[in-house]
C-alpha cells in the first residue's frame, strides 16, 4: 500500500503492492486476483533473505471502473485539523498533544 512508509518504521519483510486503499488483495469478487496477490506475497517471503527486504509485486491496477475509495464519513483527524489548523505541525511530526484535547468537531 505505502511500502515507503512501512519501510521507514523498520519492518523485516515487505511485499509492496500498488492497489487502492481498502482493496489490498483486489476487487470484491475477483478471487483470481486475490489469490494471485496472496500467493505472490508468500513467494516473496520465501525469497527475502535479509532484514528490511522489499519485494515489489508486479500487479498493475488498471480497473476501468471509477472507484470511490474514500470513507463515507470524513476521518475524525481530517475534520479536526480543518477546524484546528494550528495542530497540523503536530500531526505532521506525529507528536499528538500530551493530554487528549477537548472532543473534535
Amino acid at each position: 500500500m505505502m511500502p515507503e512508509l512501512t519501510a521507514s518504521v523498520g519492518v523485516p519483510r515487505i511485499a509492496a503492492i500498488e492497489h487502492p486503499f481498502g482493496l489490498t488483495l483486489g476487487l470484491p469478487g475477483d478471487a483470481a486476483c486475490q489469490l494471485a496477490v496472496l500467493r505472490a506475497a508468500l513467494r516473496a517471503l520465501e525469497e527475502m533473505s535479509q532484514p528490511g527486504a522489499v519485494v515489489h509485486l508486479p500487479f498493475e491496477w488498471n480497473s476501468s471502473e471509477k472507484l470511490n475509495i474514500y470513507p463515507p464519513e470524513t476521518p475524525p483527524i481530517a475534520r479536526y485539523l480543518r477546524r484546528h489548523p494550528w495542530y497540523v505541525p503536530k500531526f505532521l511530526s506525529r507528536t499528538p498533544p500530551e493530554v487528549p484535547e477537548q472532543p473534535g468537531p
Binding site: 519501510a7 509492496a16 500498488e18 487502492p20 496477490v37 513467494r43 520465501e46 470513507p71
Partner: protein, 168 residues
C-alpha cells in the same frame, strides 16, 4: 520492466505530502529478523488485517473513541476464525471505504483464498485464528504494549509459522 510500487499513487495532494513527510521520520534501528524455518508448504499461516474487522457476534470496534480523540483509535483487537465468511463480519475502519470489504472480506482479509492455498497444498494450513485491529493511531502505546503481545501469545499457542500483515 520491473515494477516499482508508487507508495503514494492513491493519495490526494495534501495527504500525499503528509505521508511522504512521515516516511522521512523513521529513526534507524535494528530490524528484527526471524528466518523462515521450513518451506511455506509446511507452514501454518495466519492473517492480521488493520481494517478493524470484527465478527457481527463479537463486540464492535469502538469508533466513538476516535471521534472523541482524533489522535487515537480503539486499540483492541478481534479474533476471526479460519472459516469466517463475508456475511459473518463487519468492517469498522474510519479511513477507508469499507463497502468493498463488506461485499467481499477477502479484499482485506483473504481467509477464503488462504483456505484455497491450503487445499492446493501450497501452505501447510490456515491457522485456527486470524486477527484484526483498527489501523491509524498517533498514540500507539496501548496497541504496542497491550494488543500486540496478546496477539503474539495466541500466535505462539497456535504454533503459527507465518503471519501475513494486510494493511488497508
Amino acid at each position: 520492466m520491473t515494477k516499482i510500487v508508487d507508495s503514494y499513487r492513491f493519495l490526494d495532494g495534501i495527504t500525499k505530502r503528509m505521508m511522504k513527510h512521515w516516511a522521512t521520520l523513521g529513526v534507524p534501528r535494528q530490524i528484527p529478523w526471524t528466518p523462515l524455518a521450513k518451506p511455506i508448504s509446511q507452514c501454518t499461516v495466519s492473517l492480521l488485517s488493520s481494517a478493524a474487522v470484527a465478527l457481527k457476534t463479537d463486540r464492535p470496534f469502538d469508533q466513538e473513541i476516535e471521534r472523541r480523540d482524533p489522535w487515537f483509535a480503539d486499540p483492541s483487537y478481534r479474533v476471526l476464525p479460519g472459516k469466517t465468511a463475508t456475511h459473518d463480519a463487519r468492517v469498522y475502519h474510519l479511513h477507508i471505504n469499507p463497502s468493498f470489504a463488506q461485499q467481499d472480506l477477502n479484499c482485506v482479509m483473504p481467509v477464503e483464498r488462504l483456505s484455497q492455498l491450503e487445499a492446493a497444498g501450497e501452505i501447510g494450513r490456515s491457522a485456527p485464528s486470524h486477527y484484526s485491529y483498527m489501523g491509524y493511531t498517533l498514540r500507539p502505546e496501548a496497541l504496542l504494549r497491550g494488543t500486540v503481545p496478546r496477539i503474539i501469545g495466541q500466535l505462539r499457542q497456535e504454533q503459527v509459522d507465518v503471519v501475513v500483515l494486510v494493511p488497508v
